[in-house]
């Protein structure tokens, strides 16, 4: 790329100040080229990011049996909504098999409902109880507060696999295996992240706001629900979105405690769908239709809240 800049006097020379106007033209051109390269790189990265999503859609709209005939066609091969129909259980076994499906029921609706239910419960519990705990850590004075908070924080360091093995036994001993409760409970009352995240925001709310409420005779509970929670509604929503996505995508834990059909969530269901290979080759079109629909709620959520989500990633909210 340096070919374009013929004369480039050493900028650090003593004549820098006087040479500046002369230097200006080539410098601008170089900066221009640099910008083009930078933009091109950025566009390339965005294409690499987005192409797989397009390919998912293209495959989902293809006829499963014809996929192999033209693997590199940029458009769907034998355009059909058949894959979606068989995933949603709208086509007969014969129709499904004619398009490369296994014919086995996929129960997409059931898994979708399970995922919705589980993710909603986890999010509601985490945000509510997390906010309560965060309030106690940020705004109330009680002996041992900072020590308890520090102990909570250490839980961030423990790898999930380490606690999930014993938690599995706990669920088994409580007789909760293959219930919604088993999937939800470990995340329901608290995650260290939720407490930590909200505490930071509560700390930032001016104390005077609460003191005014105290003068009005408001008790702790009232101050929390009427003053603090409404003022922190932004962070609460952000946390809810983040935790919802997290809960929706969780795979390992539901796989351990809830692999039974009736309580199976989408991620687990997709894993099983993949291993149902009828005639040697998986039903790629059906699989892509299913993954697309499994990802869709998150994509929609993200489209609506993208700024909020994007801004929440980083150190800004945490400091």
């Amino acid at each position: 790329m340096s070919v374009q800049t013929p004369v480039e006097p050493a900028a650090a020379g003593p004549t820098r100040a006087t040479a500046a106007p002369v230097q200006k033209a080539p410098k601008d051109r170089r900066a221009g080229i640099g910008r083009v390269v930078a933009w091109a790189t950025l566009v390339l990265i965005m294409l690499v990011t987005l192409f797989p999503f397009y390919w998912m859609l293209r495959t989902a709209l293809s006829n499963g049996t014809q996929l192999a005939t033209d693997p590199s066609s940029p458009l769907p091969v034998g355009f059909t909504f058949g894959a979606f129909e068989r995933v949603l259980g709208l086509s007969t076994t014969a129709e499904a098999q004619a398009q490369g499906g296994s014919g086995a029921a996929i129960d997409f609706w059931l898994y979708l409902l399970n995922s919705l239910l589980v993710a909603t419960l986890i999010t509601a519990g985490q945000v509510f109880f997390g906010a309560m705990a965060a309030y106690a850590f940020a705004r109330l004075r009680w002996p041992g507060r900072d020590a308890v908070f520090f102990v909570f924080l250490t839980a961030l360091m423990v790898p999930p696999i380490f606690t999930q093995l014993p938690n599995f036994l706990l669920m088994r001993d409580l007789g909760l295996l293959n219930t919604y409760a088993a999937i939800v409970l470990p995340f329901f009352f608290m995650t260290p992240f939720a407490v930590f995240f909200l505490r930071q925001f509560f700390l930032g709310i001016p104390r005077e706001v609460e003191e005014a409420a105290v003068l009005d005779g408001a008790g702790t509970v009232r101050r929390f629900f009427r003053v603090i929670a409404p003022m922190a509604s932004g962070p609460l929503i952000t946390l809810a979105i983040l935790q919802y996505i997290q809960a929706w995508n969780e795979y390992f834990w539901p796989l351990l405690v809830a692999s039974d059909r009736s309580v199976r969530v989408l991620t687990v269901g997709l894993g099983i769908f993949r291993s149902q290979t009828p005639q040697g080759t998986p039903d790629w079109a059906g699989l892509m239709a299913a993954t697309l629909m499994a990802a869709l709620p998150i994509v929609v959520l993200f489209a609506v809240f993208s700024r909020r989500i994007v801004d929440s990633i980083g150190f800004s909210g945490i400091k």
Binding site: V48, I161, L242, T291, I309, I313
Partner: protein, 314 residues
């Protein structure tokens, strides 16, 4: 669930901004209320974090198959690891995965972050790059399992179209770990880039203006301004990404189940395998204690480096 933990520097120092100097206001009433407020979270913490941590340690000294009573075996599980080839293989596979995953991902993330900082700060661009991170591991794994299919995947169609031989990405021992590592780079690089980007935003714009006045090129400014000032943030980001990377499981479980052979049997998959397929719960617990210890050491070393860097900065 540490995956979405947006970088969270433990800022214990700032935990009590109001400080003890402030007038004590009905401390006894506060204590009672605090107990009520914290009770559910405390229950969750004790039941699902604290107690299982102790229990996991305890089980690592037991032999347990889920049915018979656990039997105390002392350090047998740990000594068994020393001679367990599958364990060492899993360690090696995991390290290889982490190395490829982290190096590629970090370089790309810094590149993207710098581009975002120097070229555009558009929310749209940032949304696009972070999108893969919001999609579940399972979906991403299945998508790439399809795109990288040896016969009719688009990537191999392109490769054979260029006259080269198709690559069995998930089917060959030498390819499978780099493949899984790069799939997860695709999922995580944008998210990591946003973490780095947040760090970049703390670098005063004036430094770049000064650099321009001195005639420094963008390239020069990257090495002399951006990178040195980014080091503490980068170290923190690495703590998050490295610990996450060590716990790779979903992608392996969905695509290769540890195969071909043991070529992609990463440590977390091995733990899962031991506990739930071979019903060797005590041994699985011991291996998970070792994984925990490794992660603790990694985090400790990296945080020490961070602190050293911070004094550098001041």
């Amino acid at each position: 669930m540490p995956v979405t933990t947006t970088a969270s520097p433990p800022s214990a120092a700032s935990s009590a901004p109001s400080g003890p100097a402030r007038t004590e206001r009905k401390p006894s009433r506060d204590t009672a209320a605090a107990l009520g407020f914290i009770a559910p979270a405390l229950l969750g913490f004790v039941a699902f974090y604290f107690w299982p941590t102790l229990r996991g340690l305890w089980f690592s000294f037991q032999e347990y198959d889920f049915f018979d009573r656990p039997r105390f075996v002392g350090l047998d599980n740990y000594s068994r690891m020393l001679g367990d080839e599958t364990f060492w293989n899993a360690m090696q596979v995991t390290l290889q995965y982490v190395a490829i995953n982290i190096v590629v991902q970090t370089v790309l993330a810094v590149l993207i972050a710098v581009l975002l900082q120097r070229v555009t700060r558009s929310v749209f661009v940032r949304s696009v790059v972070v999108l893969p991170f919001l999609i579940s591991n399972v979906v991403v794994a299945l998508l790439f399992y399809w795109m990288l299919d040896a016969q009719i995947g688009i990537v191999n169609a392109a490769i054979t179209g260029l006259g080269l031989d198709a690559i069995p990405f998930f089917g060959e021992q030498d390819w499978v770990v780099p493949t899984i590592a790069l799939v997860n780079v695709w999922r995580h690089m944008g998210y990591t880039a946003l973490l780095v980007f947040a760090g970049l935003m703390t670098i005063p714009e004036g430094l770049y203006e000064a650099g321009r006045v001195d005639g420094a090129s963008e390239w020069r400014m990257f090495w002399s301004i951006t990178l040195p000032l980014l080091r503490p943030v980068l170290a923190l980001v690495l703590v998050i990404t490295v610990t996450g990377s060590f716990q790779v499981f979903d992608t392996v479980a969905v695509t290769t189940s540890g195969g071909p052979g043991d070529a992609s049997r990463v440590i977390q998959y091995y733990i899962f395998d031991l506990a739930f397929q071979r019903l060797e719960f005590g041994y699985a617990a011991a291996v998970s204690v070792v994984l925990f210890a490794i992660l603790a050491v990694v985090a400790f070393v990296q945080l020490r480096l961070t602190r050293a860097n911070e004094s550098d900065l001041a």
